[in-house]
């Protein structure tokens, strides 16, 4: 083990590899911070550079781009409420309110440090437990994956317990939107009304950008009096977490690292689901859930720790089994296959230098990423000095490019605009945009896995739901779903008794 570790760091600290990791980190943070350039797109954009490198250097470089792009997504989420990558969407819930309170620097510091910790924890897990974790992942069939996605949905009740019915309606609208387009199993068109543009479904990125960024611009257009609070014109100073602050959120970081790593390992789950799951778990576990959504550093920490931990997790099935856990891992895999590397169980035995170099490059990337991302965040935060009369249209402009770049389609821009207007109506009538996005993110995974599981069990729903892992996870879901209802029932009874 020690020899492997040494070998990994020897590879990473050769001048050429180290410089390429630094370059990959810079590229990744910038790409990640650009709305519309997702982590997988960032890796794809970096691919041409990797062709000229040796396989080990190429994977170290691509891993650097991947990890850094996930972190970069948090910068614009905090400063402008535009999630740079889908996995940064939950960061906007508390990161942007912190920026509104003039604490953008603090939010950025929490985001960067927690990203690094999450990434490092996941890479250690990957290095020490790759084969074992991969075997655990193999035990997760459609029924278990359905339970995982349902676990994510069960936290809907925690997002806004004051407006439970409206939050549930919002989540269900998200689930409904996820059903538009070709059905995942039978390829039957649903809710397309004969429009071929709807066949590929409703993309989640334009919806997220619209509901968060455009809605915010519309809010500021309606009430410009609030502009003084946004920090426009003020200086943003990025500050790292103090030891005391880090200690106060230690359990958030621990929980989010574990959730992120485990969800990252599961095929088809990925960083977006990890960050949502982790955020909502924190809301559930918190003694003060009411502060979430209003600028809680635990919210930023949960989301950013988990999405970076998922990057390490997604490397486990890639290296140990040759199964890519997500889009970015699939692109990395294709680069390595093109270079003649055969990924899979034998790789760890015949060429352990791959695992050790990926591990070392992830550790190095996550450390240098804090410094590089801080510098880049400072450049981005200078944009906050621009008066809102210019910044507002600029945000719409970035949101437009982010939505268009996804599929080179102006249809996505229209979708973003409509989502922005719907988002404003949601704010006005106290529905939950976050719940809608959560439903949209988890909808596809929930449906396809449930239907696959029922089909495999020949229609026996009971057999599907009583599998050990599935039953355990579903029990947790029930507890999480019913807890706020029981809690409010008990407190109303107590109030009546005292009155």
């Amino acid at each position: 083990m020690g020899d492997m570790l040494l070998m990994g760091f020897q590879i990473v600290f050769t001048p050429q590899t180290f410089l390429l990791i630094c370059a990959g980190t810079i590229l990744g943070v910038i790409f990640g911070a650009m709305p519309g350039v997702s982590a997988s797109m960032a890796v794809a954009l970096a691919m041409p550079f990797a062709y000229a490198m040796s396989p080990i250097v190429a994977i170290a470089f691509l891993v650097a781009v991947y990890c850094a792009s996930i972190t970069g997504g948090g910068i614009t989420a905090i400063l402008f409420k535009i999630p740079g990558t889908p996995s940064s969407a939950p960061t906007t819930f508390d990161g942007y309110p912190l920026a509104m309170q003039g604490k953008a620097g603090k939010a950025l510091g929490v985001s960067l440090v927690c990203s690094a910790i999450g990434g490092i924890v996941a890479s250690i897990a990957m290095f020490l437990l790759s084969p074992q974790l991969a075997n655990v992942a193999l035990k997760f069939g459609p029924a278990e994956l359905f339970a995982v996605s349902f676990l994510g949905l069960s936290v809907l009740t925690a997002l806004d317990s004051d407006n439970l019915v409206k939050t549930l309606i919002s989540g269900l609208i998200g689930l409904f939107l996820a059903t538009v387009g070709m059905d995942p199993l039978m390829a039957v068109p649903r809710f397309t009304w004969g429009n071929p543009a709807l066949l590929s479904g409703i993309e989640m990125i334009p919806i997220m950008i619209g509901m968060f960024a455009i809605t915010e611009v519309l809010k500021q257009t309606q009430k410009p009096a609030k502009l003084a609070d946004t920090g426009s014109g003020s200086k943003v100073k990025t500050s790292l977490l103090s030891l005391k602050e880090a200690w106060s959120i230690k359990w958030t970081i621990v929980r989010s690292s574990i959730i992120g790593t485990l969800v990252g390992i599961l095929p088809g789950a990925g960083a977006t689901i990890a960050s949502f799951l982790s955020y909502t778990t924190e809301v559930k576990m918190s003694k003060t859930p009411e502060i979430f959504g209003k600028g809680a550093i635990e919210g930023v920490a949960a989301s950013e720790t988990a999405n970076n931990a998922a990057t390490g997790g997604s490397m486990v099935p890639l290296l140990a089994l040759g199964i890519p856990g997500g889009n970015a891992a699939a692109i990395m895999m294709s680069a390595l296959v093109l270079k003649g590397v055969q990924l899979g169980p034998l790789l760890l035995k015949t060429q352990p230098d791959y695992l050790s170099s990926v591990f070392a490059s992830m550790i190095v990337t996550n450390i240098i990423m804090v410094i590089i991302a801080m510098a880049i965040a400072k450049v981005f935060s200078k944009i906050l000095k621009v008066p809102y009369s210019i910044l507002g249209p600029a945000i719409v402009l970035f949101a437009t490019i982010g939505s268009f770049a996804l599929q080179n389609s102006t249809g996505d821009v229209i979708l973003m605009a409509v989502a922005g207007i719907l988002g404003y109506a949601f704010v006005k009538f106290k529905f939950s945009s976050a719940a809608l996005v959560l439903g949209l993110v988890l909808g596809g995974m929930t449906e396809s896995n449930l239907r696959r599981a029922i089909s495999l069990a020949n229609g026996d729903v009971v057999a599907v739901l009583t599998k050990p892992i599935t039953a355990t996870l579903l029990t947790v879901c029930c507890v999480m779903l019913l807890y706020p209802i029981i809690k409010s029932f008990i407190s109303s009874k107590k109030e009546k008794a005292t009155a």
Binding site: V217, L397, I401, F404, T410, I421, I454, G459
Partner: protein
């Protein structure tokens, strides 16, 4: 409050129609499977029930005068058009719908000037300068730097966009 009730009623009508539509347009699935139409139907049924519950809650908690349709008559068209939010929504929609034929360059240049003016920027030089820098700067960055071609528009606008891309 009447607006909230109308919003919920619109949601209810739309989702009830979707429930009818999916049932009427898709064949029934075999009993051993959860069919392509059954999952959306489950979601839509839950949605319809919850929206009805929400409407009843709003109706009960609202005084009679506030839920009267008469309050809608108080909204006057000239005031609505002058409303910044309404204008902002129209600008964003026009921008989104015009991108395809007006192209990124013209559409964005005009949009930034119009929206910035709407939310308070009056200096013509600042409006034109910032709009020019953002529009052309971002177009060049994405087209040349990232090979992401933004909408070119039609006719002369397309020629201008192609010329910029070849710089």
């Amino acid at each position: 409050m009447i607006l909230e009730l109308l919003f919920n009623a619109a949601l209810l009508i739309f989702f009830a129609y979707c429930h009818y539509y999916i049932g009427a347009t898709m064949p029934a699935s075999p009993p051993t499977e959860l069919g392509a139409e059954q999952w959306p139907q489950l979601i839509l049924r839950a949605l319809i029930i919850l929206i009805v519950v929400n409407i009843v809650k709003i109706y009960r908690s609202t005084p009679a005068e506030e839920r009267s349709l008469k309050s809608l008559k108080e909204i006057k068209l000239p005031d609505l058009i002058k409303n910044k939010l309404f204008a902002g929504i129209i600008f964003i929609l026009l921008y989104a719908f015009s991108l395809e034929f007006a192209g990124f360059l013209l559409g964005t240049f005009v949009f930034i000037i119009a929206y910035a003016r709407l939310i308070g920027e009056r200096r013509i030089k600042v409006l034109a300068g910032s709009s020019f820098v953002m529009t052309f700067g971002l177009y060049l960055l994405f087209a040349r730097g990232l090979s992401i071609m933004l909408p070119r528009g039609y006719g002369i606008l397309r020629s201008l966009a192609l010329m910029l891309e070849s710089i």
